[in-house]
Symmetry: C2
Subunit: 253 residues, 2 copies
């Protein structure tokens, strides 16, 4: 009931420990008929096909031809399963930066790699994350990001903050574009018509006297055009990297 505070350190979910390869199978009892990776793979398959909302314990069990409750011998709860799904959903990190890359090129590639994963598996954005990363591959991503900043003048804490900033930006951008995509699918509208429709809606709702600046944006036609989402992504990323560059130069000078 109380938090475990013995010498072993903080509590970790059992399935996470086994993801790190710690933990041996007890020698007694019947052989397990399934495995944690098989369950996680099945869950990822379901999420890829029908979205995160379709991932229920019974659905995953059906995918494996097993009974619902059988899964609970392998994962402690649905939340634990979700955590493992995130780990394998992201996949292996893109690897350390190429030797010829400076920090900016490295981080750009790093950000694009996450961007690409999130565009393909937008369900990752819907998983309620419940804490800082502790799974092997997630820490692998972090490691690769840190290496991009290796030669810079930044302190270790600053490096970490920069990565947090960038990964947060990537997630956020992906969330926005996936919402547009999902919204258009739900409304049965062509995705390229989504932003124009939004612009018309806002134009119909707002009073130009009360919302002058917004009205000006609408008049400029900004919301009506269906931009390339990648352009929007590049814009924000470049702003952030410009800000980081300013810091690096201040530290150097």
């Amino acid at each position: 009931m109380a938090a475990k505070t013995d010498g072993s350190g903080p509590v970790i979910p059992a399935a996470i420990e086994s993801a790190w390869g710690l933990r041996e199978r007890p020698p007694k009892g019947p052989r397990p008929g399934m495995s944690v990776p098989a369950i996680v793979d099945a869950a990822v398959r379901v999420a890829d096909a029908d979205g995160l909302a379709a991932v229920s314990m019974s659905r995953v069990a059906k995918e494996l031809g097993a009974a619902t409750m059988a899964l609970y011998r392998y994962v402690g709860s649905k939340d634990e399963l979700l955590m493992l799904m995130v780990d394998t959903g992201y996949g292996p990190s893109p690897g350390p930066p190429a030797p010829e890359d400076d920090w900016r090129a490295g981080l750009t590639r790093w950000a694009w790699a996450e961007h690409k994963v999130l565009r393909q598996r937008s369900w990752l954005l819907h998983v309620p994350i419940s804490g800082p990363p502790i799974t092997p591959q997630q820490l692998g991503w972090m490691e690769d990001g840190l290496r991009c900043l290796d030669g810079t003048t930044l302190g270790e804490g600053e490096k970490m903050s920069v990565l947090l900033l960038i990964t947060g930006y990537v997630r956020n951008e992906a969330t926005l574009t996936s919402q547009i995509a999902e919204g258009s699918r739900a409304a049965g509208v062509d995705p390229s018509e989504m932003m124009p429709a939004y612009g018309r809606l806002v134009a119909r709702l707002i009073d130009p006297a009360r919302f002058p600046a917004l009205h000006r944006v609408l008049s400029a036609g900004v919301l009506y055009q269906d931009d390339d989402p990648d352009d929007e992504f590049v814009f924000g990323l470049d702003r952030i990297l410009d800000g980081v560059e300013a810091l690096i130069q201040r530290r150097a000078g």
Copy 2:
């Protein structure tokens, strides 16, 4: 079934229309015993007290002394209720920037205002947002943000992108700190012990040979200290604003 595409424009949920003050009550039939604002207020009260997970239709109805199904006469679905909760949860926008503020001071205040709201009502972060903002107060926030950039050299589209960038950052930062808070409450650990515990955990899991950069961060003691979350917030915000400043100067020069 198909999307409505008549002259009235895109479909909007009934309760949103009434939030904008459009829509008259039909003259016939019994007087409504409740009102949409009363329901939304009750739901916000529940979320404030017990978190978003506690907001179920039956719980909100109980709060009002009404029957569960009675609510569906006022809101079309739970999702619609959530959208309205977000609108009133954010509250009125902070107002236009002070005349003596330049764009940077204005946006800083704007960002802090959202930061403050999200710190007080962290359940706002858990509401699955399903599209671009269309409620009155949300567009009010947008309007105020745009006004901060009024005198700058940026194009209308760029202004919008900058706001998206900042609001995304604020949400992201708030998400991270609220996760730490919620995680520590769930584990029954003192919040100030949370990051140190995380640092120890990572140190126990990773192999320094496989994760050298991460190991260096740990050795620097970065994860062990319990930073002031506001410092972290300021760091990221300053980076972003530096990036925006670089753009503004490029456009000006």
